[in-house]
Symmetry: C5
Subunit: 96 residues, 5 copies
């Protein structure tokens, strides 16, 4: 899984029928302190994550293992909202 920050939302009228009602958020991968890098990607949100939250995203067929994403053409899902990350015995990130 990747550590990522929720940075935005997408709106699409024309989409695969399996996606009706799904929330698709824009994320950027971060390091263990929550610092974002790289280009944005989009994941289905099943946990009501908010803008600015640090989350874990599962990719590929693993992204279809939730009740909401089963059999959908989605390849990334938010599987957890991070409370805190600990590295080297210290808190590297804590949700505000």
């Amino acid at each position: 899984m990747l550590i990522a920050k929720v940075i935005g939302t997408t709106v699409s009228t024309i989409k695969d029928e399996m996606l009706a009602g799904r929330k698709l958020l824009i994320l950027r991968q971060t390091d263990e302190t929550g610092a974002a890098f790289g280009k944005p990607y989009v994941a289905v949100d099943t946990l009501d994550a908010g803008i600015g939250d640090l989350v874990l995203t599962a990719h590929g067929s693993s992204g279809r293992q939730t009740a909401i994403t089963k059999n959908s053409p989605v390849d990334a899902v938010i599987m957890a909202v991070i409370d805190h990350l600990e590295v080297g015995g210290k808190v590297a990130y804590r949700k505000e």
Copy 2:
């Protein structure tokens, strides 16, 4: 999923029989403003997307979860045409 821009079309006479009648478009990944970067890739279009449209593409086995791509040797599919993207409370991209 990746945010990508439709930039072109492919024509192939010799192809796997499962692909007969499928529209294969050329795309380039973009950032959240619609600016393209990186090398082109090809995805099946099931939504009648047009050249210049910003779309979301699902990859890997997730690309085979639509009625049209099921059991086909395709690993990328256009799953949504983007109306607009919102980042940091502002519209970062809007379809013209």
Copy 3:
């Protein structure tokens, strides 16, 4: 799918029994004009593609969706031989 150019062939006596009689070609990814870049990879050819041809390759489990590659330990297959590519309303590549 990736756009790629066929650049060579592989010969292996010792291989998984599911690969007996399979043609394994060496390819390099190209851009939309057919210009190759990056390191070579190997894909199963089920379409009798020739050296120099531009092709589309499907990857991952999608590479096992053809009659020939089913249940084989292969993760890339040539799914189409490209006739031409059109970008920006112009022909970017045409097979000779």
Copy 4:
């Protein structure tokens, strides 16, 4: 599989129900000597690995092939704790 070093832990209250009770560790890929590089990723630990351990991680659908990760939205799992690595006839890494 990738060679990786365990560098930290994650804590999440809000998560997919299939992840209840799962230990999610932060790792960084290493070379054959155990030197870390690149950005962190997160994997499920089923082997009680410790901080500082060098491990092997399996990715994608292969990460769901353990008794603990089956049917979960996880795409990386620690499948082995490395005792030592041998390269060029010499021990390149040995667990302390």
Copy 5:
């Protein structure tokens, strides 16, 4: 599939039970001449490949399509030992 060179071995006492008795080799991807580049990865060997051999590795779920790797948490397998590679009408690599 990737062209790769076998450079070493791994030893792990603590591992997933599905891996008991499996040989896990360290590889580095190579180009078509056998020149290695990039960081090492680990694949299951089912063909008794030797150190220094050039091999083809299949990745992802395709790595679980051999009799030995079925249902195992492994995402890369050696599927062929290369005898020679031919590029541009010339032998680019030949096994010694």
